[in-house]
């Protein structure tokens, strides 16, 4: 069959075309990329305003606080991951393509991470400076947020796919996904705190990498299953 031989010759054709479509759509609305970053910035100012603006206190709380705010910013951006696809019927089209739904989910997650997680991780050291983060913490912040936001995109995509057909989807998404984020938060925030204290963070990074590898294998499958459920709902 012509269809089969074509898909065997270029197995990732659908993946690349879907990925390209996502990036194009994101680029067309590239001002939307700023939303999580602005939230990140504004939320960071809550700490000195709400708690204590002294440099001592800020330096102590900065590692964890930046990680928490990155987590919340990612959560906010997840609701729209599959929503427009659900509303215009694209999810049914995803089910009908010849490629496994795993790759479809992975394409969307990659595009989401590139447009949300990566900018967050790159901006975080700047916000660290605003929160008087001590010297050792900047590189650690960047190195832990890069895999950390990727893990959060992966886990969050499953939650987004599960809740896309619900009315109050965004809030329920947060409730479902936050328990699964806690180990990542613990690892990442502890790593930055350890780096600030002068300790090596090799084990933390290794654990984060292992967690990312595990999530890369499992989560797109879960997302695919969730997409099938949402399509039939």
């Amino acid at each position: 069959m012509k269809g089969n031989s074509e898909s065997n010759e270029r197995p990732f054709a659908v993946f690349t075309s879907l990925f390209r479509r996502e990036i194009t759509l994101i680029w067309r609305h590239r001002s939307d990329m700023a939303n999580p970053l602005v939230f990140f910035l504004i939320a960071i100012t809550l700490l000195p305003l709400g708690v204590d603006p002294s440099r001592q206190m800020l330096a102590q709380l900065a590692p964890g606080m930046i990680w928490i705010m990155a987590l919340l910013a990612t959560l906010l951006s997840l609701d729209g991951l599959f929503r427009s696809d659900y509303e215009d019927g694209s999810i049914d089209q995803y089910l009908l393509t010849s490629q496994p739904l795993y790759l479809t989910a992975l394409a969307k997650i990659c595009a989401h991470w590139l447009s949300t997680g990566l900018p967050l991780a790159l901006v975080a050291p700047l916000l660290g400076a605003m929160l008087a983060l001590p010297e050792g913490g900047y590189l650690a912040l960047l190195l832990t947020l890069l895999p950390g936001t990727a893990i959060m995109s992966l886990i969050g995509a499953t939650g987004a796919a599960l809740t896309v057909c619900l009315r109050a989807g965004g809030l329920i998404l947060s409730l479902l996904v936050m328990p699964l984020y806690l180990p990542v938060l613990i690892l990442g925030a502890n790593a930055v705190t350890a780096a600030v204290g002068g300790f090596p963070i090799d084990t933390h990074l290794a654990l984060l990498g292992a967690y990312l590898a595990l999530m890369l294998i499992i989560m797109p499958f879960a997302t695919a299953g969730a997409l099938r459920i949402s399509a039939s709902a």
Partner: protein, 253 residues
Amino acid sequence: MAWQWFHRLGSPRWFYEKTSRWLPWIAALTATIWLISLVWGLGFAPADAKQGNSYRIIFIHMPAAVLALVGYYVMAVAGAVGLIWRMKLPFMVMKSAAPIGAGLTLLTLATGSLWGHPTWGTYWEWDARNIFMLVLLFLYLGIILLQSVYPVREGADKACAILALVGTINVPIIYKSVDWWYSLHQPATIKLTESSTIHPSMFYPLLLSILAYYCFYSLALILYTRAEIISREGRTQWVRALVATKHAPERTG
């Protein structure tokens, strides 16, 4: 032919009728073992060298923790069976296991906090095991929530099954957390491969308590699943006949 017993297990009606006969026995067994283990542990086991009599809450706290973890696996496996073999009954079991597990997790956290006050000096401490038990509670609550807000019953079942399966990674983390992190909880004293480090006079009532909680969990799961079966299969003939026979004496009498 070999799979016939497996698919018969998936029939809600078969489950309901079989458990109707077993229920009195299971209830009696649960009550007996639980009473014996409680009286033995709370009354007759010797006092601890360091903690005195306040350690006795272990006979309530530890089995509840064990069953909260086991219950999560029961829920996740039931969801997986329902997803893979597309059977009705496993989804009903999964939905029933969620509130029981949540209740047991709450009991664990509450009794743990009561125990912590005289021994650690604090009601709550953010050590590894506490944190991940709290995560377990959130996972249970998330599944209960998702079941109630999904518009379509079938979709709700499958979505909760996926969520339960994704959360199973948390259970081994809880179990091993006392070994991986230095925390207030002591490492495991009951070991499977070596002899346990707990004294036999406390070990046996503890084992009996764990057994009692297993019986209690089975009882609760059966009762909740039966209620779920009646609720979901309400329009079938056998349920209607059941309701009719239960109400007939009132009508004629």
